[in-house]
Symmetry: C2
Subunit: 399 residues, 2 copies
């Protein structure tokens, strides 16, 4: 039953083979939608801005009327009127005319540019233009921000403040988003105790339930903790069935030794199917992927740092798939400050701190999670490589 895969193969399983429900959509008020993911393409029903606007305080002109104008030889234009901020104008200018206009004011018919006030001088109802402006100078055209019919934000976009701003500009008071994926979180192991308890020798606090709950929130999911199941197959089967019935996917953690992963794999096999049992990566080896009762199951390592990495690399990818989010991680380039050695035969994930363009390794034992809190991101050391040299360029994946 042991079926060890590479990290890339495991990512492929999460992307294509694990069961993935299609999520229903819900319509949310815009102010409640930040952090959620669009369930539909958003197409603009209108031009933004709706009309050509001035970007300066000055005079709306026909650019051709200013050609050749200088301080010594200004163009002389008749001021046909004044545009008011926030008001529609019925003003129309003809050759030889201009209109006073504030920043943001609507360009009058006939005008195609704005000359800033500091290049003009007024004498009665005359305006002297002391510089030439080219057509469209100091003007935002209708639809410059968003044109009617344009797909502005695609389904699968996770809404940032900037995209909330874009939706507000389009007049979307509510937006369609996917419901949050529901994730059941289950710890296993006789030695695992609630975090508030003082561990007796041999006992370990249930760090992973809390770690995974907050990772689920970061990934845009609704996590539910199901407590700790003992190392006993029937109890584990019952807990797995319950969590699978009530969620879109289940995260199991706590099994850190070879024997533990075996029990997890056996239970998954009995209720569904094991896709892989073991990943050739450090940390993260004792990871099991499969399905129970038609729901995706991630059997994660018990060591919190290993659990964190497998969540970041596999569960995040799976959640992106559910939410149709095509965002790929953008690594940043840096160079290593020191040699790092690595094991042959499996990839290694190493925490680093960024110092300008330098990546400084942050070491920790795999059970230790504090190095994650002290790092900015991680690098991947390829398998079949004895390590990386000081000065070598690396891709840093930021947290």
């Amino acid at each position: 039953m042991l079926n060890v895969v590479s990290l890339n193969e495991a990512v492929g399983i999460a992307r294509t083979r694990m069961p993935a429900p299609s999520l229903a959509a819900e319509e949310l008020p815009l102010d409640a939608a930040a952090g959620r993911t669009l369930s539909e393409d958003i197409v603009s029903g209108e031009n933004v801005p709706a009309f050509a606007r001035s970007t300066m305080d000055g005079f709306a002109v026909r650019a051709a009327d200013t050609f050749g104008a200088t301080a010594a030889l200004p163009s002389m234009l008749r001021v046909a009127g004044e545009i008011k901020m926030g008001e529609e104008t019925s003003l129309s200018i003809v050759p030889g005319e201009c209109a006073a206009i504030p920043t943001g004011g609507m360009l009058p018919k006939g005008a195609d540019a704005v000359i800033p006030v500091e290049y003009t001088e007024t004498q009665g109802d005359l305006c002297l233009c002391c510089a030439a402006v080219s057509p469209l100078r100091n003007v935002t055209r209708a639809g410059d921000d968003v044109a009617r019919g344009q797909v502005v934000l695609k389904a699968g976009t996770r809404l940032t403040p900037a995209s909330v701003g874009v939706l507000a500009a389009m007049g979307r008071g509510t937006v369609p988003v996917f419901r949050r994926p529901k994730i059941g979180i289950l710890s296993t192991g006789n030695e695992i105790i609630a975090i508030e308890k003082k561990p007796l020798p041999g006992q370990i606090r249930d760090v992973n339930s809390h770690l995974l709950l907050s990772l689920c929130a970061v990934y845009g999911c609704e996590g539910t903790a199901y407590g700790v199941a003992p190392d006993e197959k029937n109890a584990l089967l019952a807990a797995l069935r319950e969590a699978a019935a009530e969620n879109d996917a289940v995260l199991l953690s706590g099994g850190s030794s070879a024997g533990k992963a075996d029990l997890t794999a056996e239970a998954i096999d009995e209720l569904g199917e094991v896709y892989c049992h073991g990943i050739a990566v450090k940390p993260g080896k004792p990871t099991v992927l499969g399905q129970v009762c038609g729901k995706a199951v991630f059997g994660l390592p018990g060591h919190p740092a290993a659990c964190w990495f497998m969540a970041e690399l596999l569960i995040k990818e799976y959640v992106h798939r559910l939410l149709r989010d095509e965002t790929a991680p953008v690594p940043v380039k840096a160079s290593l400050t020191e040699h790092v050695s690595s094991n042959h035969g499996r990839e290694e994930l190493l925490c680093v701190r960024l110092d300008g363009a330098a990546a400084v390794p942050v070491y920790g034992k795999s059970g230790v999670i504090s190095q994650l809190a002290a790092a900015d991101g991680y690098i991947v050391i390829p398998r079949d490589c004895e390590g990386l040299r000081a000065g070598e360029p690396v891709d840093v994946y930021l947290f």
Copy 2:
């Protein structure tokens, strides 16, 4: 009253001169604390792990007993017993003895290393060690993760999933965090309408209220929108007084032209003090910083992209100060893909997309916010510089 400062001076004003209340603390359940900021240093009351543990399945040994052992000439040790996972052991080994131990099992007294099972062979109650191990090999010592008395996380730390994991490992079921800063958000301008309305020519939707509400949430604040005040001093004074009375700080936006910023500055001056009126940066020039009724006030540009940048550079800095968060933005190094030109005399903020180690400029007019949604971060072009060349190294501040 016009008092234009550089961007650095404006950041300095936000950091030191604007009024900053000291925020009360509250004790939250750990699972509700992610994204919040610690109000106290967290000192460990215990060692994590509490006892020395094995990191492998194998045999706990006295390292000295294995020195010189090889497959051809194994050390022969008596198996004194078996350590069970999750149980305290009273076992103690003497020279010439070892004990079977699982991953995560408690190291027995007398042992100082673990030899992995694959380097051993058992014959009855004898264990043949086919390799030497050095002291502490395959062992996590008590306190390796966190030592008793150590400051594990400092006041001002914003809690990520990894730091939630660290707190869980320390048995913190609840944690002390600062209450969320309360921020009042007020738009101004006769031309500004609610986003659900169809703008008549000359009208503009109130993008900034929604943009700032979601930025406040990202910064860990509780934002409250106070609607749109007209361009009329008494109405603006009344709205400012109300927002200042009910919040820790007030964000005003909507004044985009010179005249608007003047009205904002006048109103602030009447109720308190103007610290600066204008910043030599593009976009973001018509920004006013001050205080009203003893509360910090940010008069932000009306153009959403400019508003976004000033929030990111000034308000975030101010909120960090309230929350004692000393995190500085870590720019990543990249090289520009094309020449960019810039104005003399003021700094310029330019959106870029990252493509590997290449920074690709993303242009947009200052009223346009969609370029923010399409970019990964921004660069700062220094003042008194005519621009940057293709290939030039730049610091990219990621969103």
